[in-house]
């Protein structure tokens, strides 16, 4: 059974039809990369899978481990193991990173019928995972993302990913704004967390990331649809030829 199955998904916001019949299937153990021009709907897809209510789903459905989750609330999806690393992580003044993660870890445990983590175990996990992404422990007492640099925010997303160990991680441009060292750290973090039971969807503009995290599949999203899919070499081809090449190509395929 596939982990994620997006079937003919259509989503709009206000009068703006953004996703126009999108299909995507992700199996455990796989890494998928989604590339595509600005405004094509990549973040929208990630948000809709995570359950953001601002979008109206006006066609299709989303299955997670075979279950239709199209109508589930955001936190219910997260509790089932879907994780979205935000393109623009949100600043939350007054809530410390540690308190945020404690609430998060324990909410997920509670949903699974597990006891809350003891303070000791929680601290140990924090220490281990922050080391993984080389975040200084002083960050834990700071308000979530407040005053963090762009790169620090992205690393904080991967730290959270490591804390929660989801089944499906959607990384929305986590590589954007990272310097080369940070990119390595983040990629190593992801590679450490990869296993045969979980899956990653990487939304990115740069094939550079894919040198570090090698995808099994690359998809091109344009105008609300996946217009082309291929192996990792597709990313290289895209970088060389640009998106117009795919668009023209896709139109040719459709009219052929």
């Amino acid at each position: 059974m596939s982990l994620l199955k997006v079937e003919n998904l259509q989503a709009k916001i206000e009068d703006n039809q953004i996703l126009k019949g999108l299909n995507l299937e992700v199996n455990p153990g796989e890494v998928h990369a989604i590339m595509g021009p600005n405004g094509s709907g990549k973040s929208t897809l990630a948000s809709v899978i995570a359950g953001r209510e601002d979008y109206e789903i006006n066609g299709g459905r989303i299955l997670f481990e075979g279950e239709d989750i199209t109508d589930l609330e955001v936190h219910e999806r997260a509790q089932k193991g879907i994780f979205l690393a935000f393109q623009y992580p949100v600043e939350i003044p007054g809530v410390s990173n540690a308190n945020f993660m404690k609430s998060s870890v324990n909410a997920i445990r509670e949903a699974r019928g597990e006891e809350p983590l003891s303070a000791k175990d929680f601290l140990a996990r924090m220490r281990e995972k922050s080391a993984l992404v080389e975040i200084d422990k002083s960050f834990m007492s700071r308000a979530v993302n407040e005053g963090f640099s762009g790169g620090e925010k992205k690393r904080n997303e991967i730290f959270q990913l490591a804390m929660l160990e989801p089944k499906l991680a959607l990384l929305d441009e986590t590589d954007s704004g990272l310097d080369i060292d940070a990119l390595k750290i983040v990629s190593q973090g992801v590679n450490t967390l990869r296993n045969e039971n979980n899956a990653f969807v990487l939304i990115t503009h740069y094939q550079r990331l894919l040198n570090y995290i090698v995808p099994d599949f690359v998809h091109v999203l344009a105008d609300g649809k996946i217009v082309k899919s291929g192996g990792k070499e597709l990313a290289l081809e895209l970088e060389e030829k640009g998106y117009d090449w795919v668009k023209d190509h896709a139109i040719e395929e459709q009219t052929a």
């Binding site: 359950g51 308190n99 609430s103 909410a107």
Partner: protein, 437 residues
Amino acid sequence: MPIQGNNFKERILSSFDIYENHLNGHKDSAQHKVRVDAIKHFESKGLPTLKNELWKYTNVGFLNGLDFKLDITETNHSITKEDIDNLKVEGIDNYVVIVNGFYNDELSSFDTSLEVKSMKTALNDNKVDFEMHYNAYLKNDTNVFSSINTALSFDGVFIKAKKGLVEEKPLHIINIVDTKSGTQFKQARNLIIAEDNSNFKLYETNHTIGDNTGISNISTEIYVGHNTHLEHIKFQNDTDNGIYFAQSEAKQERDSNYTSNTITLNGKFVRNDLGTTHNGENIETHYYGYYYGSGRNLIDNHTMVDHATPHCESNELYKGVLGDSSIGTFNGKILVRPDAQKTNAYQSSKNVLLTDTAKVNAKPELEIYADDVKCSHGSSTGSIDKDALFYLQARGIPKEKAKALLLLAYSQEIIDKITIEPIREYITQQVELKFGM
């Protein structure tokens, strides 16, 4: 003799008559003249209506419909030590209790270097203090609740710090209205004197005990001497039977620092009038406030900083969260008089509305008559940050819990200003409870 009529003004006036008739011969005292002036003022003004700028958002007409007892010399009550135990804060050992407007020695307990006594006692013992400070700061002419208090209050607490006194341990002022035997209207009058170079902290709470409505009208005058530090916290978390009017007026001398922090979590009706007048240079005034309205709570905060002298600073931040059908009002005024050059005055009011039926009235006012000043004010009203809510939910935190986390964080900025740790912790817990955490 029963009080005639059900109209608020009539009730007040007739109870004053009854009181006067029992005076026999003491009508010429200076003290009584003050009362007569005050009641006359109330008689001429009556209850404020919405036409009054200071009351334009807050209708007090409901007072006319309340059938309260106003036996102003009645001191009987049913409050016990167990009641007080429920109101104390762990870690705060000094507390003074006022029941139905009267200082209560039996229920109070303190071991402090502050001079703490009933106003009645102080009237005799502290004649000089009374001459200098009593009725010197309260604005009887602009607030009829102050004039009612001046006319009809007979006790309260007197607190004095002698020159140079530093008292580390905060004093908790517990104000109770006992409504077990019926609806009550009670006045307490407090006088706080911080002589030069003193430093201490006060924590004030108000409580209605009983199933009937309790109207509490508390007037507090505060003298803040040269180079004095006074932190004054008010925590208002009464039952839905509590109607609370509080006026607090301070005069600050050179180099002094007065910090007021008013936190309101519940009460049927709360009106806080907070004022400070500067009388010297290098004065600091800090006003912080947080209010959370639920049900049909009405919470009204009026503040006024009177910058009468140069080189002083005031800094004000009020934050509100209004849910259900509650109403929150903030009217903060900064007055910078012509002499008050080099004034720094900042004011900010922020509100979050949780429902379509909750309402906020924010009215910041700056009146500046000096040219070399730095002043700013701002007010904003919004709803819970949707992006932040989505972010928390996307980490598995259920919506209600996520909202509570955000609201607690929002209040924390104000609560964190409190320097008394047990009180900061206690209030944080109470806010958490409010948000179901």
